[in-house]
């Protein structure tokens, strides 16, 4: 599962903080590609597979406002 966050709208610090909170639900990897920060999720916990992407994006948005 790949999520592309626009660098102008999402802060890298917020993404890293969100990954730290979600790391027990999946394996995360980060890479930068052009104007985007790409987050790849592997080995996702079965119980949260359907919602993890949306919940993670909301959490990054929440952290962006906070920091």
């Amino acid at each position: 599962m790949l999520i592309s966050f626009n660098k102008k709208l999402y802060k890298i610090k917020a993404i890293k903080l969100a990954i730290k909170e979600y790391q027990n639900l999946a394996n995360f990897s980060l890479k930068q590609k052009g104007n985007y920060i790409q987050v790849e999720l592997k080995n996702i916990d079965k119980d949260v597979k359907k919602i993890i992407k949306d919940e993670f994006c909301n959490y990054v948005l929440f952290k962006s406002k906070e920091n």
């Binding site: 709208l9 104007n35 994006c57």
Partner: protein, 134 residues
């Protein structure tokens, strides 16, 4: 519009980015949000229902978001325009917190004046008192 999701584009000329973040923050509890930059001045907002929503409910969600956005835009603009007057009011409040008499009295004193007797040597100050008690 598909998959329980509604997408729309906002122009940064009409809505400041700060207001978009503010409205998005309010909607975090109601929906799943995702922001993307379509061009330098246009932002695409995706609103996805946390539960299964009908087309009409998604349109209502969009409407509520736009209302909240308008609310935040007004707040941001007011904040920008009232910045100077707010700073002036705070300065005045802090300044008037000082006692006016204290300020004028302090202004009259020279650096050699010693109304509290701090500059008097210890011997001088306490010898007199000892003599008096004897």
């Amino acid at each position: 519009m598909d998959k329980n999701e509604i997408k729309f584009i906002l122009d940064l000329k009409d809505y400041p980015l700060e207001a978009i973040y503010g409205a998005a923050y309010v909607f975090i509890n109601k929906a799943y949000l995702f922001l993307d930059n379509k061009s330098s001045k246009k932002i695409e907002i995706s609103l996805k229902g946390k539960n299964k929503l009908t087309k009409k409910q998604l349109e209502n969600l969009k409407g509520e978001f736009l209302n909240e956005l308008l609310n935040y835009t007004l707040r941001v603009n007011l904040n920008k325009h009232n910045k100077k007057i707010r700073e002036y009011i705070v300065n005045q409040a802090l300044f008037s917190a000082f006692n006016e008499e204290e300020i004028t009295q302090e202004d009259k004193l020279g650096y050699e004046d010693d109304p509290l007797g701090i500059a008097v040597p210890w011997e001088e100050k306490y010898k007199k008192e000892i003599k008096k008690t004897k």
